[in-house]
Every structure is written in C-alpha cells, then in structure tokens.
C-alpha cells in the first residue's frame, strides 16, 4: 500500500460493507432497549446465539428477562443502578438464557444514549460470548478457593502441633502460683519456643523454658525431642546441670551430619522452703530470668557462661540458686520479647523489660504474665519472633499490703 494513495480498489470493495450488514453480522451481539428494558433493536448475531426470531423479540421481550433469575437480581441491584448513575457499565459477566434451556455466558457492556438535552432515550448494549473466558475465570476462582482451604488447613495443623508441644494446662504446685503464655508470631508456622512445668519425685517440681533455632516443621521436631528428653532426664536425675548435659548429648548426636539442632534453655527445679521456695536454675545460652521481690525491686538473674545446648560435644552450663519469699516472683521468657523491634535500629531489651515491669509488688505469676502480655500488645508488629513466658511466684502472706 502506498503512502498517499489510500486503500487499494479490491480492498475498498471488500470494506464497502453496508452499515446494516456490519451491525447485523458483527462478531458480537448488539441490542438496544427502551429505558424500561423492552428490546427495540437486536442484531442477527445475538438472535442466532439465543435461537430466537426477531419478530418474537422486538417490542415484546424485555432484555433483563433473558438473564438467568439470579443474574437478573444482580442486574437489578447492581447493573441497572450503576447505569442510571454513570450512564455506562462495562464488562459485567452474566449468563443469557438461550433457546432449548442452554445458557450463554456473556460479558455485557451498556451505555445510555441521550438526546441533545441530555435526557436518556435508549440503552445500547454489546454482548460478547465469553464461554472460554468464564471457564478460565471459574478455574481461577476454584484455584483460589482451594488455596484458601489449604491455608486454613496449614494454619489449623500449625496450631494443633503447637498445642502438642506445650502443656495444655499448668499443674497446681502446692504453695506456689504459676502462669504461662505463648505468643505465636505467625499463624502459618509452628514456633520454636517451648516451656513445661511438671512434678518430680518427692515435693520437688521441674520446669524449663527455651527456644529452638529456626521455626516451622524442623523446629517442631526438635522441640518435641527436647521436651521429652528434658522430662525424662529430670526424672532420672533432677539436678538441672545434669538434665542439660543429658539434653546436650541427645541434641548433639541428633545433629550429626544433618540439620543442626540446638537450643537455648533455662531449666530448673523448685522445692518448698519454709514460707517460700528454693529454685535451682541452670542456663544454656538463654536470656536472663527476671526476679521480682516483694518490696517492689526487680533484677535480672544472669546465668553468664552457659553455652548453647546441642552445638558442642561437651557444653558448659552455669547454675544459680535463689529463694522466693512471700510476694516474690520469677519470670522466664524467650527472646521474641527482648528482640522485638521498637524502631528502625532499636530493639526492646532485657533492661527495658526489667524497668517496665519494676514496681509490680507483691508480684504474682498471673500478674507478671498479664503485664508482659500488655507489653507485647504495645510492641505490636515489632514482635517478629515467637514469645514464651513462664512465671512462678510465692503468694504474699495475709496481711501484707496488696
């Protein structure tokens, strides 16, 4: 084709379609209706798709009546009001009822034709057959629903698995109060924090709280191994250092040549002592415990020098003994709390926790846990890792100030 010569004669003849032919045999349906929906003009393509005769339709049928009943409700509650308000609506997927009960998935686009004064006269609608498009969209919808179901299932699984790694309720320890809390950072993944409180022979109770490296199903496997090893070892020999040494051997062996399996943990035992209790604690690389005294003071109990459990064949653990009197409490926690982000380059710290919770006197285990839950709520999205809490306290004597 030359630049200035326009269209060649042969092609020009082909293009001399009559406007009527272009309308009637267009590759889409055309229909014009009065404002009340009565069909006043319809092209041959749409009549053919619907299997209808022109005389049976024009002036007799209302276009919305050709929709499925449910589609008609959609038309009246969404399409028609929008058409009134905007003057046009495009790309709405509905189904037309064709002859012999078949259904034709279509995409409808309508525009209102107005007179010179802007008064609405007619509604013009184009109808595109959309069977393949709709099938594709339905497959997408089904895939999305499937994905949502799978996600629900994964979350349910994570929740149930998490629950099996934690005691469902804490046992009653005579003469003491205990409280615990687990804050999952994600609903999709099992966390790697754990705690437990359990009876040992005599009037002694064992407890532990710790944090496994990583999260998800691998962490859950390790957590399960740790929990049963610690409980078994404590029954065999309740001394916290030998309990940790036992755990270290088990984890180190389990790690060989495979996914590394180690954790930080504080484990200990508690036995009654006069009007209070004595706690023996052993630490393996874990954040310091927080001790609350009845006089309102609080301090961090560092177990410095304790090494990560499971990383080395022979690990060193550090032990400490403290006495809790009436109105005293101790809190064990994981670093989800003390490594929470408080700004672009700032993190919550153990000292922040001590200062924020200072003055809880006399402290009770449930009171301490509730106070930390409030701290977690304030930190909000800054808490990026799971957080486990376990608190023990000796109730204040009657007559102490509340």
């Amino acid at each position: 084709m030359s630049g200035s010569g326009g269209i060649e004669p042969e092609l020009s003849a082909l293009l001399e379609d009559s406007v009527e032919d272009l309308y009637d045999n267009a590759p889409c349906g055309y229909v014009s209706t009065l404002l009340d929906g009565t069909i006043v003009k319809i092209n041959a393509t749409l009549l053919r798709w619907l299997g209808l005769e022109r005389d049976a339709v024009v002036g007799r049928t209302s276009f919305p009546d050709l929709l499925t009943v449910g589609g008609r409700i959609y038309y009246e509650t969404h399409f028609a009001p929008l058409l009134h308000m905007q003057g046009e609506v495009g790309g709405v997927a509905l189904e037309l009822r064709a002859a012999e009960g078949t259904r034709l998935p279509v995409l409808l686009t309508s525009a209102v034709k107005t007179d010179a004064g802007g008064k609405a006269q007619l509604i013009r609608t184009t109808v595109f057959a959309a069977r393949d498009r709709r099938t594709y969209e339905e497959e997408l919808l089904r895939a999305r629903e499937q994905a949502e179901r799978e996600r629900d299932r994964a979350q349910r699984l994570a929740r149930v698995l998490q629950q099996t790694l934690l005691p469902p309720v804490l046992p009653e320890v005579p003469g003491m109060q205990a409280a615990a809390y687990y804050h999952p950072a994600s609903r999709d993944q099992v966390g790697g924090d754990f705690y437990d409180l359990f009876p040992l022979p005599g009037d002694t109770w064992g407890f532990f709280l710790g944090d496994v490296s990583g999260k998800g199903e691998n962490a859950a496997v390790v957590t399960s191994l740790i929990r049963y090893t610690l409980r078994g070892a404590a029954v065999f020999d309740p001394d916290p250092v030998s309990v940790l040494a036992h755990l270290n051997s088990v984890l180190y062996q389990a790690s060989e040549g495979r996914y590394p399996r180690f954790c930080t943990v504080i484990c200990g035992s508690v036995r009654p002592d006069g009007d209070g209790a004595v706690l023996t604690l052993a630490g393996g690389g874990h954040t310091p415990a927080l001790v609350f005294r009845a006089d309102g003071t609080s301090s961090l109990l560092h177990l410095r020098g304790g090494q990560l459990v499971g990383a080395l064949p022979e690990a060193r653990f550090v032990t400490a003994e403290i006495r809790l009197g009436p109105g005293d409490a101790v809190l064990l926690y994981t670093d989800g709390l003390t490594e929470a982000r408080t700004g672009a380059d700032s993190w919550y710290s153990e000292e922040d926790l001590r200062d924020e919770l200072g003055g809880l006197a006399p402290a009770t285990a449930p009171g301490v846990v509730e106070a930390v839950i409030r701290v977690l709520e304030d930190l909000g999205d800054g808490v990026e890792d799971d957080t486990a809490l376990l608190a023990l306290s000796v109730p204040a004597l009657d007559g102490d100030r509340a």
Binding site: D36, G37, V69, G70, I73, E76, A80, L82, A93
Partner: protein
C-alpha cells in the same frame, strides 16, 4: 470508632425540618438517593448513611458473625438515631433496608414518626403458598454472579478507595464505586438479604407505614408489595408507574413525592 465515620453518615437539607433517614438496600450505597435528596432537602433534614461493608463505611467494623443477621443492621440504624439524637424520624428503607427499618421500628417505635418501605420484600424465596418470586437455586445463581463480578473492587484498589474518599483525580479508577463491595461482604450480605424471613415482623409494626412499590419490579413483585401492605396494619400502599427495583433512580420525582406526601411537613 464513632458511628458517623463507621456508617459514613451525611446530614443535609433543612436543619429545622423533620428528619428523613434514608437507608440504602443491597447492592449499592447512599448514592442511590442522589436524585431524591435535592427534592427533599428544602423541607426535610435528610440523613444518609452507608451500611457497614458498603460505600465509604468502615470496612474494618464488619465481621461475618455480626452482619449475618438483619438485626445487626437494625441495631446500627438505632445507634445512628441515638448518636445524632434524631427524633420523630421518618425512616425510609429501600429493598432489604425496608425490613431493616421494620426491625428497628419494632424495637424502638417511639423513635420513629413514620416508616416508608420502598420496594420491600419480607421473604424472597417461595415458601408453600407464599410467592416471594425466587427459589433457593436462584439465590445461588446470584451468589455466582457476585463471585464473577467484583465491580469496582479489587484488593489492590481497596486501600486507595478507602483512604481517598471524594478525590476527583481518582474518578477514573472509581468507576462502579457506588456499587463496590468486598466480595466476601457482598456474599454475606446477599445471603442475609435473600434468605431472611421477616414475614412475622410485619404484623408487629405500630408505626404508621407507607408501602411504595413499582408497577414492574422483578425483585419485589406487586403481589409481595400487596402482602406487606396486608400484613402491616393500617398501612398505605402506593404503586408507582415505574419499572425496576430502584424507583429513586428511575422515577425520582414520583418517589420523592410519595415520601413527602406521607411524611407531611410541607
């Protein structure tokens, strides 16, 4: 959050006039009243709002549990009346909001001077001798249509729409916005709208009531309008020479005249 932002309450018209509270129905938002408001504004104090989940209401206030019954919507209407201290209210409910209006008026009749039920239906699904006009399968088809058309809604656009009400430069993107809804909200609202049965609530209405229906309405046919009129003691029935389910758009003058004539005050 206060109810004015939660329900996007808009007060307009004659400050000293009697209160006309306009409640939109299933599908769109308070914009549906746009042609009627100017006709009422001179005489009445016109109060508009969006149901929670529709229009520019606070979507965060919506939960499937709460909004799975029309009582929650009636509760919101009463809260709006209380918070704005609206009295002797002429409550106009369109479509499903006609039944929401009935529930609200039955709970606190002293709050309302009059009820106008615009194209009401107390039950859409046929039941024995009762003809609501639809079968359960039809309602499932509607849910399919909702699923296939997220008019003006997408998860990507939603925050833009919510954060920028009334910004004209977003006009192009806000096409279809009057009828946009989060697909999950639309599904729950469709179910509560089309599967509720409020027939027994009609006989309990003590507030003077006007039933307004259209001559041809596929959603609320005339026999249903007649049923509502028969069940609400002492009610009046007006049939507009209009087609469709939204006479406030297709016949705004006649709709406003029917409301005003019944409401009095001019």
């Amino acid at each position: 959050m206060d109810v004015v932002s939660r329900n996007n309450v808009v007060v307009t018209g004659n400050e000293a006039g009697p209160v006309v509270l306009l409640a939109h129905g299933f599908g769109c938002d308070q914009n549906l009243w746009r042609l009627v408001v100017p006709l009422l504004a001179e005489t009445y104090r016109v109060v508009l709002f969006d149901h929670v989940g529709a229009g520019l209401s606070d979507v965060a206030a919506w939960t499937a549990e709460r909004y799975s019954s029309l009582d929650a919507y009636a509760d919101d209407v009463l809260t709006i009346c209380r918070e704005l201290d609206l009295r002797d209210v002429v409550l106009v409910g369109h479509s499903v909001s006609a039944m929401i209006a009935v529930l609200a008026a039955n709970r606190e009749p002293e709050r309302f001077a009059k009820l106008v039920l615009l194209t009401p239906s107390p039950r859409y699904v046929d039941d024995g001798d009762y003809r609501g006009g639809f079968s359960r399968a039809d309602i499932d088809e509607l849910l399919d249509a909702l699923e296939a058309n997220y008019l003006g809604w997408s998860a990507v656009m939603a925050p833009v729409i919510m954060d920028n009400p009334g910004r004209p430069e977003l006009g192009q993107e806000l096409t279809n916005s009057f009828c946009r809804t989060d697909p999950e909200i639309a599904r729950v609202f469709a179910r509560v709208t089309f599967l509720s049965d409020n027939r027994s609530d009609l006989a309990k209405v003590t507030v003077p009531t006007l039933v307004v229906q259209c001559a041809r309405d596929a959603i609320a046919p005339r026999e249903v309008g007649q049923f509502v009129h028969d069940q609400v003691r002492g009610s009046e029935l007006v049939t507009l020479d209009a087609v469709g389910h939204c006479p406030q758009l297709s016949a705004p003058e006649a709709t406003a005249a029917a409301i005003a004539e019944f409401a009095g005050g001019r």
